[in-house]
């Protein structure tokens, strides 16, 4: 299972990098969303999969899965949401101000040269 998950994670990363390298602003944002999914799955896979009950003491199980990756991911999910929200507004505003969503046209200001 872990090896299968590793390949899925690799696919998520590869597609997100491909999207981030594209010229369209929207695809870049979708790419970052995929990237955080990949990262979350990576963390939980690293902790070992299905090695016991859910980390709730009420289960009274002999063993529990590693709770630490879950805590990390919980934090990460919320933060990635915040980041995505900011990106979206930023993209929206950039499009409004500059009239384009093409990254090539949003190039760093030549006037500073």
């Amino acid at each position: 299972m872990e090896i299968l998950m590793s390949i899925v994670i690799g696919a998520l990363f590869a597609s997100s990098v491909y999207l981030m390298l594209s010229k369209s602003l929207l695809r870049i944002i979708i790419g970052t969303g995929l990237l955080s999914h990949g990262a979350h799955l990576l963390i939980i896979t690293m902790g070992g999969l299905k090695r016991g009950a859910a980390p709730l003491l009420g289960e009274k199980a002999a063993s529990y899965v590693d709770p630490l990756p879950q805590a990390l991911i919980l934090t990460a999910i919320v933060i990635s949401f915040g980041v995505t929200a900011l990106f979206l507004v930023l993209a929206y505003r950039a499009y409004q101000e500059l009239g384009t969503d093409n990254m090539d046209e949003m190039r760093g200001n030549e006037a500073n040269d």
Binding site: L4, S6, S15, K50
Partner: protein
Amino acid sequence: MSLLHLAIFSPFLMAIFVPFLYKGLKSIHTGWFVLALPILLFTYFIGFLPITRNNGTVEKSFDWIPSLGIHFTAYVDGLGLLFALLITGIGALVVLYSIFYLSKEKESLHNFYVYLLLFMGAMLGVVLSDNLITLYMFWELTSISSFLLIAYWYDRERSRYGALKSMLLTVFGGLSMLGGILLLSIMGDTFSIRELISQAGELNQHPLFLFALILILLGAFTKSAQFPFYIWLPDAMEAPTPVSAYLHSATMVKAGIYLVARLSPIFAFSSYWFWIVGAIGIFTMFWGSFNAVKQTDLKGILAFSTVSQLGLIMSLLGVGAAALHFDTLNDNIYIAAVIAAVFHLINHATFKGSLFMVVGIVDHETGTRDIRKLGGLLSFMPVTFTIAVIGAFSMAGLPPFNGFLSKEMFFTGMIQLVNLDLFNLETWGMLFPILAWIGSIFTFIYSMMFVFKTFSGKYQPEKLDKKPHEAPVGMLISPIILAFLVVLFGLFPNLLSYSLIQPAAAAIVPSLVGPGELLDVHISHWHGFNPELWMTIGVIAVGTLMYLTLSKWIKLYALFPGKVTLNALYDTSLYAAERGSYTLTKAYMNGFIRTYLVYIFAFFIGILGFTMWTRQALTIDTSNLAPIGVYEIVLVVIITAGIFTILFAKSRLTSIIALGAVGYTVSLFFVIFRAPDLALTQLVIETVSVALFLLCFYHLPKLNRHEERMGFKLGNLIISLGVGAVISLMAISAHSNKMFESIASFYVENTYKEAAGKNMVNVILVDFRGFDTLFEISVLAIAGLGIFGLIKLRLAKKGEEADEN
């Protein structure tokens, strides 16, 4: 930490209070407060004279970085003390002078005095450190304070240019010196100068010896403005005149001399040292005086004169190295060169200091320093004229001033070289006295120019901005004191012989001075009609003749092509370096975010892949895997389908829905992986995210691929596949190599015991890792503020537009 250390650090401490004194007590010139410090330090250092008089030393040490062998060892011997007295003595006079030179209303005095104190402390540190690393630190600090002081009037373009030039050249030298210091420490396994001196014999045989010698001399030559590095000194004259008097003639530029003198016991036995120091010194002496004659700015004359005089002292130190090749102290004529170097060092500080102050007065009272505009000031400024005559005649080497005595000794040292049967001197040695003599003639000429072009000749009031008159008394005190010293040392040179000169000279050639012995230092005016006296008479005769016919031959200088000067070389290489680095940077920092991402990902693939390859970290361990169920396979298929849908989607709605599908699949994975909290959170967040995407995408343009070409796509594909492969391999390897025990058991055991909770994930978040959660909330808050700000920004702009309409 001793009183001696405190004395070195006191200028830095004082500098802290200067801005408050300036702001708090506006009515009193800040200089008056600062003045107390150098006077105090001067009297403190005078107290060391009885100790060094008999070649005694004082040493106080405290550990700075003991693990690296770096201690702050303050060490006072004759040489260090001589410099310390110069620094504090001239420092006090310069501060006094600056009180009248810099107006308290117009100038930002707090900056000036902070920089000046910074310099004073740094310079004391240089001359009183025994540890080479400490010395280096203070050395660079003098470069920095010099930079700040040259650029004191930073709104002037020339000031900035001069400051940058001095900084680049002296820091280049400083870094070379650091290299030399490190080589020395490798050879001798210590940073202590005295310990290195004790191993001088072995160091001389070391293969790295020559490299260390050259690197250290680079540091000394750039600092002391020797040929070909002297070019920064004339441009440094943009600094306020008190600074020029203090840093760029009396003290800082002598740091290189100090270094050469201080390290002479280590290097001087080598013939390279003799030749490099001696030859560069004597040529600089000639070249500086030769160029001084064509200057029209009074400070320009003094700048080249300083270059020339520094070369003179340097050449004496180089020639003095020959002394080490004679074992007996008796009859060792080359020690005379070392003594002459020390003596001239003192004399130069006195007469050059007073001359700079004279220039400051002339500039202050007439508004110009151009000798073409000046003339006939004698009747307006009799006192200034008297000081100028004393200083300039001493510089020219005329009796009865102190410059005459040291110039005679200089000639003695150079003439003796011809008789030396060492280092093939019988062939080339003749050049030394010849260059010395020609250089002295030019010295005589520019000294006369300095006095007579300014004070005699035709008075040209129409060319002056102000009506000239004598300077205020306060401004005259310092130069009068210095001029008085010039006369005093000229008439009674033996006041200095055994109090200052002997201890300093003994520190330069310690191997020749046995315990309890003193060098024989006796300076006299009259030696009979010997070659030196005839040389001086020749200088005066030829010099007078050439000065009177100056207008006939000054045009010869125009024959030198302007494009092949060292300054032009400096300018073009600096320009080329700027252009080159700009082009280089532009080539890879092209402003496209994609380019930067490509760099990041390429390095990611390269470095991680390389490390995994070389460390053989890539292992696949299939023994400890969780079983694969039907649900998982279904989910993997869904997520893969989602990914491909996103990649090939033509419409934005499809992409958003596919992204949502991936997100929901991830939350289902969490369910299977026994993470109920994550699954719940992911579900909620995914729902909100999709809603948000839809809301925003409503306002955003259609999904546009912007005509991506095949090569562009292929490049992206390769990079993304590379990243994916590296991540997959890393994940597999990380799973297969369990290098540490999991810390999970701690949480399982202590969740209830320590925090009385049953949901481990929740307890970790709010209790064990509570601060993480706090910062997470902060991040969210910042994101929220950012979003709010972005939206508000638009509203504000719209409001403005509405107002305009």
